[in-house]
Amino acid sequence: MIEVKNVTKKFGDFIALDDFSMHVERGAIYGLVGPNGAGKTTLIRHLCGVFKQDAGEVLIDGQNVFENAALKQKMTIIPDDIFYFIQSNTKDLMKFYKDMYPSFDEAYFNKIASCFPTIDMKKVVRSLSKGMQKQVAFMLAIAARPELMILDEPVDGLDPVMRRQIWSLIMADVAETGLTVLVSSHNLRELEDVCDHVGIMNNGKLLIERSLDDLQTSVTKIQIAFDNDEMPKLPSDIEVLRKISNGRVHTLIVKGEPHVAEREIAKLNPILMDVLPLTLEEIFIYELGGENYAVREIII
């Protein structure tokens, strides 16, 4: 669905996207994560056709996005900082979206509206709270019946009930219509619940891109203890991202197939060995730790 090939974008001397490539399958829910300033929003603006890349290609369904109105009719965007026309209420905006997006489903919009009872349809949207504005943006975006939704911090500012409500609606659409979702968020715990694919980016580059299952199995936390305080030397084919020792107990963050690491470590005869799955947040932190991410020292 989305194909980004070797995209470079510079703002003056600053390189926001550096030979960036990514790939999103149709029907996937792709979580885009990265530290502040990684280039996520810049990437999203390229995907929306707002920015034009200096080099490379940004393709959706094999077509360039920039200045492609027909293609943009198949996608909706909820940016972090939402724009609404002055003096427009939700109904006015609904009419605007209806005219703009041929596949806009008014009946569906009305149906969704019932899920958001706090929204006054006749009230000027700009006068609503930030959370309510997000809800309106979501209602409009999903009622356009897009094939692709691009969400930048979509549930930021929403209460837990509304978050759940929105995600359940998205998931239902994904299941029913094969909607593809690209979501950028710092709420990794939430992404972990909804995403099936994850891309981690930093400094304008994509560090990792794979399915969440693969990702979670590719990095493992192994707790081991030996008779002696000193841990025997690990085989060289085990890539340890992090090692934390507390007396005889050692915690290893190991990259690679967990079974291989488990088997190799077992050969060292530990008196205790536990293999634990990593959360997305942990993976994010450990992966970026290797990228000289500033938070590394704090975690240690």
């Binding site: 703002f11 603006r45 929306c48 056709g49 707002v50 920015f51 034009k52 200045e67 492609n68 109105a69 027909a70 293609l71 943009k72 009719q73 965007i77 940016p79 900082d81 939402i82 724009f83 026309f85 002055i86 003096q87 006015d92 605007f96 005219d99 703009m100 997006y101």
Partner: protein, 660 residues
């Protein structure tokens, strides 16, 4: 039509209209007050006060009203407002990003926005034109041609200003800057010319003349008003008008502006297509314009400031020579230019960190270029100072000292050229004339001598020289040889009669003679005029003619309308000139009066057949004064008061009044 090829987007159009209809309504209301309501009030006043008499019809009145109406000003005002509201999203990151994320191409965004602007600004004008036509029909004064020519002028100028506003909007990422650019672009040519003229005035001899009437086509706000306006003239006598003469402005210019607006709109569209969204909030959004703006602003603004500073120094120190003035202007321009260069860089790049080697080299190159331009001025490489047009290129030539004299005859034109060339023989003498005449802090008054040529290609060439009295202490022999031929020429009686009295001086009736009788007894009233003579019209004209003939004799004797240099602007010698107002009206209904004054100023008036001649009589005008007394216009010579006496009397009565 495929969506990406579409120029129009209905959803966007509806949204645009929902944002701008209030502006359109306000425009309609404003125009309604200015046009139909104002005209109806005027019509009502004329009906009530019997204004429609002596052949003056409602149709004439409506024609006159429409001809007087503003045109380009409306377009200039509405265009920037409607374009700013329609394309507001270009100046806010959030709005711009979202608008460009919607499924609508820039082509649609641009042309739908343009259509919105056109509709909002055109409909009110069309509506008002229809209302004015209906009013014309109802009041029996339908002047459809004038009404719809006015509408066409307003619409074309509006379209032009919309295109300029669009261009300005695409050049920057800041709304306030866009508005400044809009005003700046509209007056760019004039401002640049004014800056060069200011420089030329300080660095060159005879230059520095700026006349507001000479705005060229690149300053459309003023030019449309001047060149495309409707001019009307009531025909007939003051007792009864026969018809109204209507002269429409140049339609050719309007079509040229129409074509220009299309071109500018296309350029604006190309800029929009290439505009990068990340340039929102940037001072200049088009990379190519950054160096252009830097150079332009760093050259012209310091230049103007330096010229002002140079004049200021000159005002406080008369000993300031031409050479010093040149040095002060150039050094100040260069120093300020460097400061402006880096200030512009800071504005464009939004940082104070602009002092790198690359920028310093660029600045040095710019400064060198500026210096070359200044030296070109100083050395007059284009022979601007010494230029006197060839006879065959001249439509008319004029000299203005105390009076404006316009010469159209080939011999006269050659004579003007001859005295002008003679004046330029020793430029150095005139250059430091004011300096030399005021060398020891002894102020010698100076006046201006102007040579103006209207060329056959429509251009004007104007040179203005500062001159002092030929009898002044500082007037050298070289100076006298330069300027005396000019005085000899313009003070010839036949030249005075032809160009001060006018072309009908020897074939005219004198309709009226008037002189104020001033006595100190008159108190606050001061002046009194002779009572109406109880005689026939022909007797009156004979009486007037006798005064006129005496006036001609005074001119022949060199007593009146003599130009001196260094006098005040009216050429008065207060010690001999009378304060009394004296005027006469000369008329010839068969031959149009050629007004030297209007022609010199470039005022294009409809033909006139009579003219009021005002003269400041002086003690030498014995012939005229005697005739005035003899014919009963003036009680006696006691009724005359000299300007100096009047001033002292006025001062004393003022003191007396204040002491009371």
């Amino acid at each position: 039509m495929r969506l990406e090829k579409s120029l129009f987007n209905m959803a966007l159009f509806k949204k645009n209209i929902s944002r701008t209809w209030l502006l359109g309504l306000a425009y309609v209301l404003a125009l309604t007050i200015i046009m139909p309501i104002q005209y109806l009030l005027r019509y009502n006043y004329n009906v009530e006060k019997n204004g429609f008499v002596a052949g003056y019809t409602p149709q004439m009145d409506l024609t006159w009203f429409m001809a007087d109406a503003s045109n380009s000003e409306y377009g200039f005002g509405i265009a920037i407002v409607v374009v700013a509201i329609t394309f507001w999203y270009l100046f806010n990151k959030r709005d711009s990003y979202m608008m460009h994320a919607f499924p609508v191409s820039r082509r649609s965004l641009f042309f739908t926005g343009l259509l919105t602007c056109i509709i909002v600004s055109f409909v009110p004008v069309l509506l008002i034109s229809i209302i004015m036509s209906i009013i014309g029909l109802a009041t029996g004064g339908a002047s459809y041609g004038v009404i719809w020519y006015w509408a066409f002028t307003v619409l074309v100028s509006t379209l032009l200003f919309i295109s300029i506003a669009l261009f300005a909007m695409m050049c920057t990422g800041q709304l306030i800057t866009a508005i400044c650019f809009y005003v700046g672009i509209n007056f760019l040519c004039f401002l640049m010319e004014a800056a060069f003229r200011m420089l030329a005035k300080r660095l060159m001899l005879g230059l520095g003349y700026i006349q507001m009437k000479h705005f060229n086509a690149l300053t459309p706000l003023i030019f449309i008003k001047n060149a495309c306006d409707i001019k009307v003239m009531l025909r007939g006598s003051t007792e009864a008008y026969d018809y109204i003469d209507i002269q429409y402005g140049s339609t050719w210019y309007l079509f040229a502006y129409l074509a220009a607006s299309v071109v500018i709109t296309i350029v604006a569209y190309i800029l929009y297509k290439r505009k990068q969204n990340e340039t929102v909030h940037e001072f200049i959004a088009v990379p190519l314009f950054k160096p252009l703006f830097t150079i332009g602003a760093s050259f012209f603004i310091p230049l103007v400031l330096a010229c002002f500073a140079s004049s200021f120094v000159f005002k406080i120190k008369y000993e300031y020579t031409y050479g010093t003035r040149f040095a002060v202007t150039v050094i100040l321009s260069l120093v300020l230019g460097v400061a402006f260069f880096f200030a512009n860089q800071m504005m464009i790049e939004k940082t104070f960190r602009v002092f790198n080697m690359k920028k310093i080299i660029q600045c040095a190159a710019f400064t060198l270029l500026s210096l070359v331009i200044f030296m070109c001025f100083r050395l007059d490489v284009a022979n601007i100072e010494g230029r006197v047009p060839e006879s065959e290129d001249i439509e008319w030539a004029a000299i203005q000292g105390t009076y404006s004299m316009v010469f159209t005859d080939a011999d006269d034109i050659n004579k003007v050229r001859e005295v002008h060339n003679n004046l330029l023989k020793d430029k150095g003498e005139l250059r430091d004339l004011v300096h030399n005449s005021n060398r020891n802090n002894k102020y010698e008054p100076y006046s201006e001598l102007t040579f103006k040529y209207k060329l056959k290609n429509g251009e004007y060439l104007v040179r203005v020289y500062e001159v002092i009295d030929t009898e002044a202490e500082a007037a050298s022999a070289t100076y006298l040889s330069a300027v005396q031929p000019v005085l000899d020429f313009i003070n010839k009686p036949e030249v005075i009669k032809e160009h001060v009295l006018g072309n009908i001086w020897d074939d005219c009736t004198v309709k009226d003679v008037s002189i104020s009788n001033i006595t100190k007894k008159n108190g606050a009233g001061w002046a009194a005029y002779a009572a109406d003579f109880d005689i026939t019209k022909s007797q009156m004209e004979s009486k007037n003619k006798r005064v006129y003939n005496a006036l001609l004799k005074d001119i022949d004797d060199g007593n009146l309308f003599i130009t001196h240099f260094g006098d005040d602007v009216f050429g008065y010698d207060y010690n001999i000139t009378y304060y009394n107002d004296f005027s006469l009206i000369i008329s010839n209904q068969r031959e149009a009066y050629f007004s030297d004054e209007s022609t010199f100023k470039g005022v294009d008036l409809p033909p006139i057949y009579e003219q009021t001649i005002n003269a400041s009589l002086n003690t030498r005008c014995e012939n005229t004064i005697d005739a005035l007394i003899e014919e009963g216009f003036l009680e006696s010579k006691d009724s005359l008061i000299k300007k100096t006496d009047y001033q002292s009397y006025y001062d004393s009565t003022k003191e007396e009044y204040e002491s009371r």
